[in-house]
Symmetry: C2
Subunit: 343 residues, 2 copies
Amino acid sequence: MKIIIDAMGGDLAPREPVRGALMARNEHGCEVTLVGQEATIRRILEQDNIGTLPPGIEIVDASQVIEICDNPSTAWHDKPDSSMTVGLKMLKEGKGDAFISAGSTGALLAGGTLIVRRIPGVRRAAVAPVVPSGAGSTVLIDAGANSECTAEYMVQFAHMGSFYAERVLGRETPRVGLLNIGAEPSKGSELYKQVYHLLEEAKEAGHLNFVGNVEPTTFAKEDACDVIVADGFVGNILLKAMEGTASFIVKGLKDLFTTNAKTKLGYLMIKGNMGSFKKLLDSRETGGTALLGLRRPIFKAHGSSDAYAISHAVGKAVEFVSADITGAIAARMADLNAAAGGK
Amino acid sequence: MKIIIDAMGGDLAPREPVRGALMARNEHGCEVTLVGQEATIRRILEQDNIGTLPPGIEIVDASQVIEICDNPSTAWHDKPDSSMTVGLKMLKEGKGDAFISAGSTGALLAGGTLIVRRIPGVRRAAVAPVVPSGAGSTVLIDAGANSECTAEYMVQFAHMGSFYAERVLGRETPRVGLLNIGAEPSKGSELYKQVYHLLEEAKEAGHLNFVGNVEPTTFAKEDACDVIVADGFVGNILLKAMEGTASFIVKGLKDLFTTNAKTKLGYLMIKGNMGSFKKLLDSRETGGTALLGLRRPIFKAHGSSDAYAISHAVGKAVEFVSADITGAIAARMADLNAAAGGK
């Protein structure tokens, strides 16, 4: 298996993606292609005392870099020799099994949709991070790709998220919840009431294990669902609210631990056991976020990804490719479209 | 000043609202009217060894109770002798300065809107809790009253929230942010883009100190705004995501503290200083949530309110009445409507 990494994407690029590629090569045993400014990449390798490329790692030169100021919708086209555009074209042509970038989500989505294309029948690609929850972890879909959604898009998100939870998180007949502000079917906006109805139908047809509306409080506290469906606007608000609240509380904890000599000592006694607590809150542990609905696997790594986070994202991509989520979604879409056509 | 309390509303009613009323009488120096089943209320007072009512506290009998299974839209009407309906009618008739209930938010909103009525010109009443934020605290409006909003409603929320932040939180020219998934004006759904534009206009007219889009992460980490405007669906998702994430992390912390003898000892050393950290997360500290846009002050206390939380909500109501937020909103609405009419 070969994973293509955007060496120039993210706040800590190119150093951390380059280091992450080497780390991933060792940890996950896959081949890695680094796409970006070759001279810069080689300089970083030299600084790390790596004179010749280790086996299983190659560099593909791309002269341009997509910056934060570029228009995300057109960046892939405006900068045809950017690391992202070159990498996505390689993915499309089968020169790798998945593409990972820590660059602009918007640019990656636009480039992915227009270069790699959507799976036939899929209306919109969606961002699907695996987030901490009362169930341990849950697939949130869509977490920000589509600010304006129709009920049809959201039902497709449910199907795509369900395959992901089943094949990557190992949940049998994944429980699909609809993000909402109350448990009753009458809750929420008109769009959400309509989606509720359609998901009920999909459940009755035996296509989805829909468990009803799930509130953010229930989602966090209880073992409620394996997939949570939202439109991209609300899903992104949820994701960022979780992240914001977590860092708010961690700041409060730091203040608490450093109040005085006694609390500092108390902190030292706890510190050694903080591993799993920190892991709970570490965005690097969530690995890459899958873009579901495209013909080939694409992953977005967090903008602030370090080498560890990049390597972790590669691990997720390897799992994703092995489980053939893309193939499963394509087969389901073909079935649903055939059923709809046969009506 | 006299505050009317729904003795029968909330998970811990009637015991805790009754106790909360006594506590509030002592702490905030206001008179209190308890509305509910008189015999039950008197029995609770007797159990607490209070034979005669202390001065400044009265009981008004109401035979019915609005339950969780009642239809929130019509409960006030279906149960005309419920504590909520009787209390709201007393408020309307000037037999008290504010009404507080820990009962159903939906029933309180419907009853408040149809008995007490909206301020002339106000399109929709909104729920406006004060939530912890990077600014210390911020007014979130609307946090759940209106699942379906127009841009006009949301601009009115901005005005109402601004008065609240100015007069109750003491912020001069409060900074009003629009909840969104990115800072740029082009972010979010069509509705949010439209609201952005209208808030910009209100800023140029000198009516509001609009500071642009604010993401949930920014809102939590930075001193970004004193008021954050959202539609009721998204605002409620934000509120519940904050609450859910906080309890998720607190659970993780408890597991950490109780891992072994060493971490337990560490916890004991920190415990004494946990006050302000706990306060940060305690929903009881946020006190009652104001329903803004109605002709008389109405507060929703958390469903799980104990006596302390009820008393705290009374304190918030007293501040609210003293600051005459209702009068300020009515005056601004009259001005805006006159200006619109004069165009």
